[in-house]
């Protein structure tokens, strides 16, 4: 739910009268193009990242100024601009940075963004500077150091506590309250990827508190890949040869609201469109019509793939393709499916990785375990041809994928029959990639149902093609017991201050994070905290009520283990609100825990799925505070995770629904190095 000013709420209520739905624009964008790629060379990718406005012709009827990353190899002359792109280049769609384990990613971020004139949070006390549109970078999903600069190395790691201002937009004045480091014009980043960093799919995006919605819906995101799918798929000769015949697509989902005037609405409104098409609404092919009479004044909400609205995805080979999907949405939850146009059924897809980590459930994992290790993201269904003992790990298949903002998933997509088996595609075999629409709870949002792309299938799979791909590699092992990663991060970790007062959790203890509104009549989102003992009871004196983000000081401190070895903790997220949240933490991957049905104890999954963001379902009932929850006025459905901390430094954990983190549902954590 968006926290709207009272006036806006009143306006919306008044304007409910006489709502008319316009037919939405149906833009056939042609075949889906791959994202432009910049690859590392000799262990380094050194790029200029210019965040700027760009006239965008691919969305809507009128030219619109989107906010884009213009990325190019760093100019030798120190220029702050990339060379002009060929006409028709779609910078809004995003760029892929292709890295390998052990690489160094150097980025010079230059802020040339226009002002953020519709920033809602600029009206918060001390936040007028948000209209200046400061920005920064976050390499979401990478297990790398969030270094601060030093006199010896004045670059930043994956550090979100720095902002870069565009001096053309003016300067902060008295009364502005800026947090963290503040820089003019540009900022240098240098991010060292550990040699043992697993291959996977990650992404790059802006991470300014108060402007997340604006900058992501404006278009500020791109894709980062480490290695490629062959690093964790099909290690035996037969499967390896088959894998080479599978094309790989990178797909970046974005959504942007554009008013009738052609102006991009950076302060995205969840109720811009109706949840489902009205009877008189034309098919929603890549967009939905803004509701008339609302403050938004009509317009359209565009849902694009690589910046293209309702493109055609030709799957030209019978064995299908690998799709690497990233959602760069600020707020929208996608309930993705691939609907066979002839039968109307959802087609089975094999899930190869989640949040940049190959999925490797134990070979004898039960259906219940398969369901719970994916959380709400993956509604697991049996894979075709999944014979006991055939593969070292159990394949994960699904017909629907729930992608909350920041989620990534890699899929094997092929033409399959009703039983999920590879099937020859007839001359007209086609499907529709769609999001079914998703409601996040009684007090939440209703994200619209949209058809995203037309998919055509051709051909027959090669003889002897496997029904499922073998997922292998050491990603799960590396990230669940990240001692090798920790050893590689030793130098970066040791550079952080060693605090005295940062005790480790006692054995058997865990941390509980409350997600909800701040108490006392405030309408800000926030996070609360308490420590639980080995019996699951709150430890006296540890409770911190739900409060909005305090950028200037950490809420929690976690010490690394002896010799800066990884520290493994269990965290329980309790959502007391009547809407879903999406818990995300920087610099870590975590696994979901489930409760043993007999003992009630929390148990980790054997192998399986790792996440860096996970849905935390809404509570049932009426809780306005933690006290209400303790009194039983609502029932929450906690999500418990096991987190191996490997990286020292200050970073954040937050709800990755942009409107929630912008409104305060974020906290700063400090992971201390030990002596």
């Amino acid at each position: 739910m968006r926290i709207a000013p009272l006036q806006a709420i009143v306006r919306r209520l008044v304007c409910l009268v006489g709502v008319v739905i316009l037919g939405s624009v149906s833009a056939q964008a042609g075949p889906l193009a791959e994202l432009p790629v910049l690859k590392s060379q000799s262990g380094v990718l050194d790029v200029l990242v210019v965040a700027r406005g760009d006239k965008l012709a691919s969305l809507g009827r009128l030219p619109t100024t989107a906010w884009v990353y213009d990325i190019c190899p760093r100019p030798a002359d120190g220029s702050s601009s990339c060379p002009p792109k060929p006409p028709g280049t779609n910078l809004y769609g995003g760029t892929r940075l292709a890295l390998q384990p052990g690489d160094t990613l150097r980025m010079r971020l230059v802020n040339q963004l226009p002002p953020a004139l519709d920033s809602e949070h600029a009206t918060d006390p001390g936040n007028a500077y948000l209209r200046l549109n400061p920005t920064n970078l976050h390499t979401h999903g990478l297990i790398v150091s969030p270094r601060f600069p030093t006199k010896g190395n004045p670059t930043y790691g994956d550090n979100v506590f720095v902002m870069t201002l565009n001096p053309d937009n003016g300067l902060p004045g008295p009364g502005d309250v800026l947090h963290g480091d503040v820089r003019l014009s540009d900022t240098e980043y240098e991010i060292k990827i550990p040699n043992s960093h697993p291959a996977g799919l990650h992404w790059l995006h802006a991470h300014i508190h108060g402007l997340t919605v604006n900058q992501l819906s404006g278009g500020l995101s791109g894709v980062i890949t480490i290695g490629d799918p062959a690093d964790y798929l099909c290690k035996n000769a037969e499967c390896s040869a088959f894998l080479k015949s599978l094309p790989v697509r990178h797909i970046l989902l974005k959504d942007t609201q554009i008013l009738k005037s052609g102006t991009l609405l950076s302060e995205q409104r969840p109720d811009f469109c109706k949840y489902k098409p009205s009877d008189n609404e034309t098919a929603r092919q890549g967009s939905c019509a803004g509701v008339h009479g609302r403050p938004t004044g009509g317009g359209d909400w565009y849902f694009s793939l690589n910046g293209q609205v309702f493109p055609h995805i030709p799957v030209a080979r019978g064995q299908g393709e690998i799709w690497r999907l990233t959602t760069g949405s600020a707020t929208v939850t996608y309930d993705l499916g691939l609907r066979d146009d002839a039968s109307g059924r959802d087609m089975v897809m094999q899930v190869l990785s989640v949040d940049g980590v190959a999925v490797q459930p134990d070979a004898d994992a039960t259906p219940a375990e398969m369901m719970s290790m994916g959380g709400a993201k993956i509604a697991s269904v049996p894979c075709p041809g999944d014979l006991p003992g055939k593969l070292a790990t159990k394949p994960l298949c699904a017909t629907r994928i729930l992608m909350l903002p920041s989620s990534r998933v890699e899929l094997w997509v092929a033409h399959r029959d009703a039983l999920g088996r590879l099937a020859p595609a007839g001359a007209k075999a086609s499907a529709t990639l769609y999001t079914a629409g998703y409601k996040t709870g009684p007090a939440g949002d209703a994200w619209p149902a949209i058809d995203l792309a037309r998919v055509s299938f051709r051909g027959t799979a090669v003889a002897g093609a496997p029904q499922v791909l073998a997922v292998t590699g050491d990603a799960q092992a590396t990230l669940r017991d990240p001692r090798r990663l920790g050893a590689e991060l030793q130098a970066a970790n040791a550079a952080f201050p060693r605090g005295l007062d940062c005790p480790a959790l006692a054995p058997g203890h865990m941390r509980r994070i409350f997600m909800g509104f701040t108490p006392g009549g405030s309408v800000a989102f926030g996070l609360g905290y308490e420590e639980l003992d080995e019996n699951g009871q709150p430890v006296p004196g540890t409770f911190l009520d739900i409060a909005p983000f305090d950028a200037d000081r950490p809420t929690l401190c976690v010490p690394l283990g002896a010799g800066n070895s990884p520290a493994v903790e269990r965290w329980e997220m309790v959502n007391i609100a009547a809407e879903d949240h999406n818990f995300h933490m920087h610099q870590v991957k975590f696994s979901l825990l489930s409760r043993d049905r007999i003992s009630g104890r929390l148990v980790p999954h054997r192998g399986g799925v790792l996440h860096d963001n996970v849905p935390v379902p809404h509570a049932q009932g009426d809780c306005e505070s933690v006290s209400d929850w303790r009194a039983g006025r609502c029932t929450a459905y906690p999500t418990t995770v096991e987190i191996p901390f490997t990286v020292a430094g200050d970073f954040s954990y937050h709800c990755h629904l942009g409107e929630h983190s912008d409104s305060g549902m974020m906290a700063r954590i400090r992971v201390r190095a030990t002596k």
């Binding site: 006199k151 001096p167 004045g173 003019l184 007062d501 950490p554 929690l556």
Partner: protein, 121 residues
């Protein structure tokens, strides 16, 4: 280069050349120390050492500024790791020739309500 960026570069160049009317490192450091002692010395660090200051007038086109904005970087003597901090400060000229800190560093910040909050560390 855009006009605003050009103006900023010119202002920085002027500051680097020691032009009158804009604060320098010593001026910003003195302004910070004065603000720290005047406001609440106990709650503000006394170990900030400003390393560089790039300043421009807050009113465009004026070299002799009554108010100025500066990009500064500083270290803290008590942090052996040598972390470099970056900040933007605004200052106002006083008749004495000194500068008064208006925003940035310790001098700022309308209170932010954190009901029931106490830091865990």
């Amino acid at each position: 280069m855009k006009p605003g960026a050009a103006a900023f570069v010119l202002a920085v160049a002027a500051a680097s050349a020691g032009a009158a009317g804009l604060p320098d490192v010593a001026g910003v450091q003195a302004a910070y120390e004065a603000a720290r002692s005047a406001v609440d010395a106990a709650s503000h660090a006394n170990d900030l050492v400003i390393q560089s200051a790039r300043c421009q007038p807050l009113s465009p086109g004026r070299q002799a500024a009554a108010q100025a904005a500066c990009q500064i970087d500083f270290v803290r003597r008590l942090e052996p790791e040598g972390r470099l901090y970056f900040e933007i400060v605004t200052l106002e000229a006083r008749n004495s020739g000194a500068w008064e800190l208006l925003s940035g560093l310790c001098k700022t910040r309308p209170p932010v309500a954190h009901p029931g909050r106490s830091p865990a560390i």
